[in-house]
Amino acid sequence: MIEVDIKKRFNAQTEISAKFASDASVVALFGRSGSGKTTVVNAMAGLVKADRGHIRVDGVTLFDSERAINMPAEQRGIGYVFQDGLLFPHLSVKQNLFYGARRLSPAHDGASSIPFDQVVDLLGIGGLMARDTPSLSGGEKQRIAIGRALLSRPRLLLMDEPLASLDSGRRGEILRLIERVRDEFGVRIVYVSHSIGEVSRLADDVVLMNDGKVVACAATEEIFNRADLRPFTGRFEGGALIEAHAVRHDMKYFLTTFKFDGGELIAPGVDTPVGARVRIRIRARDVTLATERPRGLSIRNILEGTVGAIDNRGGAISEVHVLLAGPGALSGRELLARVSTQALDEMQLTPGQPVFALIKAIAFDKRSMGFSA
C-alpha cells in the first residue's frame, strides 16, 4: 500500500498538494509537464522534503511532518530510474550495476530475491559488461539504470519518464522490459509519464495530476473513460480504453481476435496466449461512424451502438460518444469518435440514435496494447 499526502510550497504561485493511496502493482502519476509529478516522486524517494504531510509504503512511515520523521533517502529502500538514466560516468557498467547491491544483506526487508543473473538476462545487458559507461546508447543506458535500481532490491521502484529521452524504436523495447520487470520480479512501480500510451499500457491505477494537485486517483480504465476528466486526459489524445482478452488467433491471415464487454475486436496478430488479458486503447481519430451497417468495406471491426453525448466546441472537429450495445445489454462500454463537424451535420446524428462504429484492424499496433500476465 502506498499512501501519500503531502504539501510543498515553492513560492507564492507554486504549491504542490498531492494526496493519494494505491495498492496497485503499477501506479502511474499522469499529467502535463509542470503538473508536479516529479516533485511527488522526489519526495517519495527522500530527495526533496515536503513541508507537511506523510508518506507511507506498506505501513513503513518514510516521512511524517507531525511526528518529525524524515527517513534519509539512502535508508528508504526506494529505487529510482531517472529520465536520463544518470549512470555514473566514471564507473564501469558492472560497477554501476553493483553500486546499490550492498543492500543484499538478509537484514533488509525490501523486495524478494532479485538474482543478478536473472536481471542481466531479462534486460539483455550481458554483452554490455565490458563497455565504458559514456559510450552506451540511450536505450542501453536506460537498461543499465533499470538493472542498477532493481539490484538494490527496492521495496518500491520509481520511474520518472524513463522513455522520454529515447527514440520511438527504443521506447517500445524498454516499455516491454518494464512490463516484464513488473511481472517477473513482482516489484511495485510508481511510473511518472505524460504519455497516455505508456500509462494505459502499464498502469493499474492512475493518479491524475494537474497544476500541482491530484485531480483523481482511480483504476486506469476509469480515469481515461471518465467524461469529467476528459479536460485533463482528452487533451493529450482522446480515446477509450478497453479491457479485453484474446479469444483466438487466425494463423492464415495472422490476426488476433479480442473479446470485451461491448463486442469483439480484430487486430493484427500478437504473440500472446489465448485468454491473456489485454488493455486496448482505441484512439478517437481511428473511429469512423456510419448510420447503417456498411457493406463492401475493408474495415474489419464494426461495432453496434447508440450515439451518446456530442462534444462540439465550434471547431471543425467534433467528438461523438458511442455507447456500445454489446451482447450483455447495458454494457456501459463507451467509444469516442472524432469526426468532422460537417459530417456530423450531414448525418444528422442526435443522441440516442443507433450508429455503427468502424475501426480498421490495423489501427491497433503494439503501442496501443498493454499485456499483463
Partner: protein, 228 residues
C-alpha cells in the same frame, strides 16, 4: 651547475611547497564542498574569509600569522606548549604561510569542479543506498578530480612563489626559511650577482613548467577515465 647552497634552496622550496599543498588539500576540499553544496546563514562571510588571503596584502597575512602563530601568539603558544610544534622562524612556518596564501586558489578550483558534478548523480547514488560520505567519496570526489588537480597546481605554484607573507612571518634564514624567491631577493641586494640570479630564475621556471605538466597529465588521465 648548481652549488651546494643552491641545491639546498631548491630542496627547501620544494619541501615547503609540497608540505603546504598536502596539508591544505583536505581542508580545501571540505571548504569547497561546503561552499558548493550547502547553504547556511553566514555563508557569504565564510566565503569572504576563505578569500581573504587573495585580496589582502601578503605582508598583512604574514603579520597576522606572526601574531597568531608566533611563539607568544595564541595559537602558536598553545601548539608549542602541547605538541612541541613551532612555526616561528622554521620551514614549517614558511609552509604555513605558503599554504594560507594558496588556499583560496585551491578552494576556488575545487569548488567549481564540485559544482560541475550534477547533484542528480548524487541523488541517484543515495537512492541506491549510499550514505552522504559514500556518495562524496565514490561519486563527487572522483568526478571532481580534474578540478582538484588544477587547484593543487595553482596552490603549488603559488607556494613556490610565496614571498611577502613568508618573509614577514618567518624571516629570511638561509637553510631554514630561505626559499627561491627569498634567495633571489637576497641576491638582488648584493652587487654583481646577476649570473646567480639568472640561474635561480631558470630553476624557478623549470619547476613551474614541471608542475604544470604534472597537473595536465593528471587532468588528462582523469578525463580519459570518465569519457573514453
Amino acid at each position: 651547475m648548481l652549488s651546494k647552497e643552491e641545491v639546498e634552496i631548491v630542496v627547501l622550496s620544494l619541501k615547503v611547497a609540497f608540505a603546504s599543498v598536502i596539508f591544505s588539500v583536505p581542508l580545501a576540499v571540505a571548504c569547497a564542498w561546503v561552499l558548493a553544496r550547502c547553504s547556511f546563514p553566514g555563508k557569504t562571510l565564510f566565503d569572504a574569509l576563505v578569500h581573504l588571503p587573495l585580496v589582502l596584502p601578503p605582508v598583512v597575512i604574514g603579520y597576522f600569522l606572526l601574531v597568531m602563530f608566533g611563539k607568544n601568539g595564541w595559537i602558536g603558544g598553545a601548539l608549542d606548549a602541547w605538541f612541541g610544534v613551532t612555526f616561528a622562524f622554521r620551514w614549517t612556518g614558511a609552509a604555513l604561510a605558503a599554504g594560507v596564501m594558496g588556499f583560496p586558489l585551491m578552494v576556488r578550483a575545487i569548488r567549481l569542479a564540485i559544482e560541475a558534478v550534477p547533484v542528480r548523480l548524487e541523488w541517484a547514488a543515495r537512492t541506491l543506498g549510499a550514505s552522504r560520505w559514500r556518495v562524496f567519496f565514490t561519486v563527487t570526489l572522483p568526478l571532481a578530480i580534474p578540478g582538484l588537480a588544477v587547484g593543487v597546481l595553482l596552490a603549488f605554484a603559488r607556494s613556490l612563489g610565496e614571498f611577502g607573507a613568508t618573509i614577514t612571518f618567518v624571516s629570511n634564514i638561509p637553510g631554514e626559511t630561505q626559499t627561491l624567491p627569498l634567495a633571489i631577493y637576497n641576491l638582488t641586494q648584493s652587487p654583481g650577482a646577476d649570473a646567480a640570479i639568472l640561474k635561480l630564475c631558470i630553476v624557478s621556471i623549470v619547476l613551474s613548467v614541471a608542475a604544470l605538466a604534472a597537473s595536465e597529465w593528471v587532468n588528462r588521465v582523469a578525463r580519459r577515465r570518465q569519457s573514453a
